[in-house]
Symmetry: C2
Subunit: 362 residues, 2 copies
């Protein structure tokens, strides 16, 4: 299709053209669209007819939004790559929840691409507010969003004073699921996690230093594992941690393969997400190991496919969709000038399924 068709950028028809054609005031044309009660039905009909004839596409949204000082959309900042939003099952559920909240408020949802090299998309996003979801605390995009000084809600983010935050009790979940394995008599653990800036092998201080470069939920979950294992008398330094570049099944499988070469082999593998766990599961089985009799594997998140794996995955359930819904509702409330809780922490629940059993010799 040549560009010189109906979609070509031809001379723009504005409200002024319609007004001129009819010899009425521009405000009258405006009223025809926005306040039908402010003019006679006959005139309104004429205005609309002339507008159609002239090819006037209706009031320009940008001009209207500038005048009314509202964009009618909220922005979601999530992950480095926009496409990731559509790939991760847990994220999909969260976005679904956000979408539900917005739908009720007639707001649109702007997905802002998070290229690390520029913050301009955030600075120029036409939105009335932001939901910042699972970004690195040090990510410039987060700073750029907060610098906009528009209503913002943090979701799975380190809380900041003055900004409503919704978080999940990830540390508790990690603690619970590690405890579950400890009660089964497991003593040789390994951890498969997504990207850490450095292995979590040093002191608390170092934990804090690297915090800004580690995903908040990753931090919390690792902390949960740690406190549980240390409470059982295990030394954190002795627990092998395998770090994956991506939260994907493929990376989980690769990590598992690496762990299987260790000796003594771990009898329980703590995966920081279900996707990694599912990968680990298949890798273990392909290596000829039986799950859970040779090795117990647990995940985190209870994504839909966790229940359908064989064996089904023992994991930590959280209400992904409600989490998103809550965040969306909080932002909507903020936009309306209503009060909002500064901090909400959602509970988690241990879901025991077939991928775990007592350690051999118990």
């Amino acid at each position: 299709m040549p560009p010189d068709n109906a979609q070509r950028k031809r001379q723009r028809v504005t409200i002024a053209d319609v007004a001129a054609e009819l010899s009425v005031a521009v405000s009258t044309v405006s009223n025809a669209y926005n306040r039908p009660d402010q003019l006679s039905p006959e005139l309104r009909a004429r205005v609309l007819a002339v507008a159609a004839q002239l090819g006037y596409p209706g009031p320009d949204p940008l001009a209207r939004s500038l005048r009314q000082q509202q964009a009618g959309a909220i922005g979601v900042l999530f992950a480095e790559r926009l496409r990731y939003a559509f790939t991760d099952p847990a994220a999909v559920l969260v976005l679904d929840g956000i979408a539900s909240a917005l739908e009720q408020a007639d707001l649109s949802l702007l997905l802002v691409p998070g290229r690390a090299d520029t913050t301009t998309t955030v600075q120029r996003a036409l939105v009335d507010g932001f939901i910042v979801y699972s970004m690195l605390e040090a990510d410039p995009l987060v700073g750029a969003a907060l610098a906009r000084r528009i209503p913002t809600v943090l979701l799975d983010q380190p809380p900041r004073a003055g900004v409503p935050s919704i978080t999940v009790d990830d540390a508790d979940g990690a603690h619970q699921i590690a405890d579950h394995l400890l009660r089964f008599g497991h003593r040789r653990f390994a951890i498969i996690t997504d990207r850490l800036s450095e292995p979590l092998t040093s002191t608390d201080l170092s934990l804090h230093e690297q915090a800004a470069h580690t995903f908040f939920v990753t931090q919390l979950r690792c902390q949960g594992y740690r406190t549980a294992l240390e409470a059982a008398g295990l030394r954190w330094q002795d627990v092998p941690i395998h770090e994956c570049a991506d939260n994907s099944q493929a990376d989980g499988a690769a990590a598992m393969q690496a762990l299987l070469h260790m000796s003594p082999r771990p009898t329980a593998v703590l995966c920081i997400t279900d996707r990694l766990a599912l990968g680990a599961l298949t890798a273990a089985q392909q290596a000829g190991l039986a799950v859970p009799s040779d090795v117990s594997i647990v995940g985190f998140d209870d994504i839909p496919s966790a229940a359908h794996a064989s064996p089904p995955l023992t994991t930590i359930r959280q209400a992904h969709r409600d989490k998103g819904l809550l965040a969306g509702q909080a932002l909507v409330a903020l936009l309306r000038g209503e009060a909002v809780a500064e901090r909400i922490t959602l509970p988690v629940e241990l879901v025991v399924r077939g991928s775990t059993e007592p350690a051999a010799g118990c």
Copy 2:
């Protein structure tokens, strides 16, 4: 959190305030942000310092967009409920593809909620273009989008003159997969489809009448089934069609249960999507039937979980992600004033897996 905190709508700081404070022209402040080469580094530093001190959040995106006549985002119209976009695996892949294309062009993606009762969200969407994806042709939202007279690409939609359209050869796919079953000797078919306005049991004319109220791909696929079956000497009127309200596994299962009560029972079930097929599969198995020996089941789309089902699903593969990518790229080209193909049709591929086998007695 009380609304009177840092996020309260306080007196707004504009570029003029910064300029006044410094006794420079507003254009100088503007240049400090947008054209650093247009002013001395010292003055620029002073401007930025004063801006920070005054709490100026940077140039207002709405005003900038109005002035520059571009929103920096494109809108996607999809399904009735925004949340559906995040639920359907095929749609997720398509959106992922669209997102990739936009990411490269530094454009954001606006998901417009499609409430049938109002078109205002479409009319007011702050976007430079639209991708209309799998909407009912008669949906007012589609009309509203086209009425905006901004660059638009149709995806899995009935083509319209002057608007670039990207479609998939769904009819061919349906024909192929029906043929596959016919070659296996099947003669007793049933069809499970998503919402139709009326059962597809009448003449071609009626097909056209209801077209505007049926999803385009549903139409194409049903046509494909029909031509294949009729070419094999079967009468379309004799083929039971079960219509589902939603494209969900649950609805597919319910449909299958209904079909199982028929006698003679169909030996082959054509499902118009993989999700319906997966539901049908489990329902058949729960009813004590073996798939494929008692009944062959096929899907359409080759979503990721189709390969992981047991038995894995025979289906029609299409390049969901590439489809979205192509649509995104076409829209980007349109926005740049480049020429774009008016019509692209993507091929499909039959993927034979374990859910089909020759009919008993062959």
